[in-house]
């Protein structure tokens, strides 16, 4: 993770012209569809889930149509073909995150399952009564509730790094909690509710010094900036394919191989065993030990193609593109009276996610009015209720950018806000 690791880097090397979001829209069939009101679709909800490029959809259709069979064990051409494509996707994911080997890549349904896998498997084997673990107040529920459940079960204590008024992790509070010797620190690369890019390199260094392992919830960072687990030095990393132009139903857990080897299985059944008798079972090698049953074969293959699309653009270019859009949008929205912006002001530590509140207008109403303008945004707690509680708001409206957005979408956002304010004035 180059960019988000050292906030501030990359300034001056910005390349807003690396690619044109407007041009890329032709790669995404969804933009052919007129909205109900006949307006152009302005899709600003990538943080919830991303549209799919034609290449990915065609890869999926072709895999189902011509290269589909169950993987592994099948001693016939079609199954060998499917297996080769499935395992090639694993290798693609491994390269994308900087893993030492494809065997460190475990396929899961989504980032949520990847985190639950660690909580159930590593957590129940390693966390004991009286132990502590640490997460933060800006996490998605997926990086909170599994730890609450784990700590409740084993009798450990879950602490939270608090957040500053502008949505950053409080570094002093982080240090204070690390001094208590947590066994694990679970932290997001990017907050989906605030847009904050967390200083992961620093966090990993401090956590390791304090003897803690680090799990990175990369659901919101991996789609938008380079990821390099080797450079970062973290221990676990979770991501979701559907947020990075890939299919639904596929996510990834990366973990260091020694950790995976030592962890007991999570779900059990076919494929994850070597031998089963009526008395018990022996487990297969990693990563298969963690992939019980028939995997999401074509979804993994589709994720591989989504990653190819992204790496063809270049993850540095993706980050720069979104940084540029963020700066444009942040500046435009700051001009509009009655708009309260959340999250850090510094573009070096703010991803392409803008959470805001309009004075006197409920975010649900905002989203409904936006929808009539063709602008798709998310309104709600963004599965991050502790963030809402921190700022004492019921919900926010959130606009999030991706490769197919461009400055015309920034303008559409600003004008939808004005339309909404007019209606409710």
């Amino acid at each position: 993770m180059t960019t988000q690791m050292t906030p501030g880097s990359g300034v001056g090397s910005r390349i807003p012209g690396a690619f044109s979001g407007t041009a890329l829209r032709t790669d995404f069939p969804v933009f052919d569809r007129p909205t109900g009101t006949g307006k152009r679709l302005v899709y600003l909800d990538a943080a919830a889930s991303a549209p799919k490029p034609r290449r990915v959809i065609e890869t999926i259709a072709d895999a189902y149509g011509h290269h589909y069979a169950n993987v592994h064990r099948g001693i016939y051409e079609l199954s060998e073909d499917a297996t080769a494509r499935f395992e090639a996707a694993r290798a693609t994911v491994a390269r994308f995150v900087g893993a030492a080997s494809p065997r460190e890549i475990v396929f899961a349904r989504n980032a949520t399952e990847a985190i639950n896998l660690v909580a159930y498997s590593w957590g129940r084997a390693n966390l004991r009564a009286g132990d502590r673990m640490l997460t933060t107040q800006l996490e998605h529920h997926a990086n909170i509730v599994p730890w609450q459940q784990l700590c409740r079960e084993v009798g450990a204590t879950l602490d939270y790094v608090s957040i500053t008024d502008d949505g950053r992790l409080d570094p002093d509070d982080l240090r204070a909690h690390l001094a208590n010797g947590p066994k694990l620190v679970a932290v997001a690369g990017v907050s989906n509710a605030l847009g904050t890019i967390n200083p992961l390199t620093e966090i990993v260094r401090l956590a390791h010094e304090a003897g803690a392992l680090v799990l990175v919830d990369a659901a919101q960072s991996a789609p938008h900036m380079p990821t390099d687990v080797a450079a970062l030095g973290c221990d676990f990393l979770a991501l979701s394919g559907h947020k990075m132009l890939g299919p639904s139903g596929i996510g990834v857990l990366w973990a260091r191989r020694e950790l995976l080897e030592a962890m007991p299985p999570f779900m059990t059944g076919g494929s994850m065993i070597i031998k089963v008798t009526l008395d018990g079972a022996e487990w297969n090698e990693v990563p298969y030990k963690f992939e019980a049953g028939t995997p999401a074969i074509v979804e993994a293959i589709g994720l591989g193609e989504a990653i190819n699309y992204l790496t063809d653009l270049g993850m540095d270019a993706v980050r720069e593109h979104e940084r540029y859009l963020f700066e444009q949008a942040w500046a435009a929205l700051r001009e509009i009276p009655g708009v309260r912006l959340l999250g850090p002001d510094d573009p070096a530590i703010h991803a392409g996610v803008i959470s805001f509140v309009l004075d006197g207008i409920h975010p649900h109403d905002v989203a409904t009015v936006f929808d009539s303008e063709g602008v798709a945004v998310r309104a709600g707690h963004h599965c991050a209720q502790p963030v809402m509680q921190r700022y004492d708001i019921p919900a926010t409206t959130r606009a999030s950018f991706y490769v197919y957005n461009d400055t015309d979408d920034v303008e559409a956002l600003a004008s939808a806000i004005r339309a909404c304010q007019n209606l409710f004035s």
Partner: protein
């Protein structure tokens, strides 16, 4: 959409009827809309027989749809018997709102109905089937 926010709705939202928490009251229930975290309370006063509503107040923060719907719903309650309220059809409330409510906003539109049913039945009431197409 301008459809959804017709003047009628916006008027109720800006100047909601029956807003407030009645104290004392005979019946009271709090509930929330999990899709947005909005909370609503409903307080009712009954006549001496304990069967007919004499006064009603709703309170809580929420979106224009939920606030307008509560305002409209509570307007019709005085003089109704508890049995009549229990027999209410949520569709009638949607009709009274008079605007098309998309599936994502049905819980907003029906929160007041749910809270009211909780109050007259003395316990949490399920979301009407109309609102079930979307989950929290």
């Amino acid at each position: 959409m301008d459809n959804l926010y017709r003047d009628f709705i916006l008027e109720h939202y800006r100047n909601p009827h029956n807003k407030g928490f009645l104290d004392p009251h005979d019946l009271h229930f709090d509930d929330s809309n999990p899709t947005c975290g909005d909370e609503m309370s409903m307080t009712l006063r009954l006549d001496a027989g304990g069967e007919t509503i004499t006064d009603v107040g709703f309170d809580g923060r929420g979106c224009a749809i939920s606030q307008a719907s509560a305002s409209i719903l509570t307007d019709g309650l005085r003089g109704q018997s508890l049995d009549q309220v229990r027999a209410m059809n949520p569709k009638d409330l949607l009709d009274e709102l008079g605007v098309p409510i998309g599936p994502a906003r049905l819980k907003c539109a029906l929160l007041s109905y749910k809270v009211l049913q909780g109050a007259v039945r003395g316990g949490e009431f399920e979301w009407p089937a109309e609102a079930e197409s979307m989950t929290g």
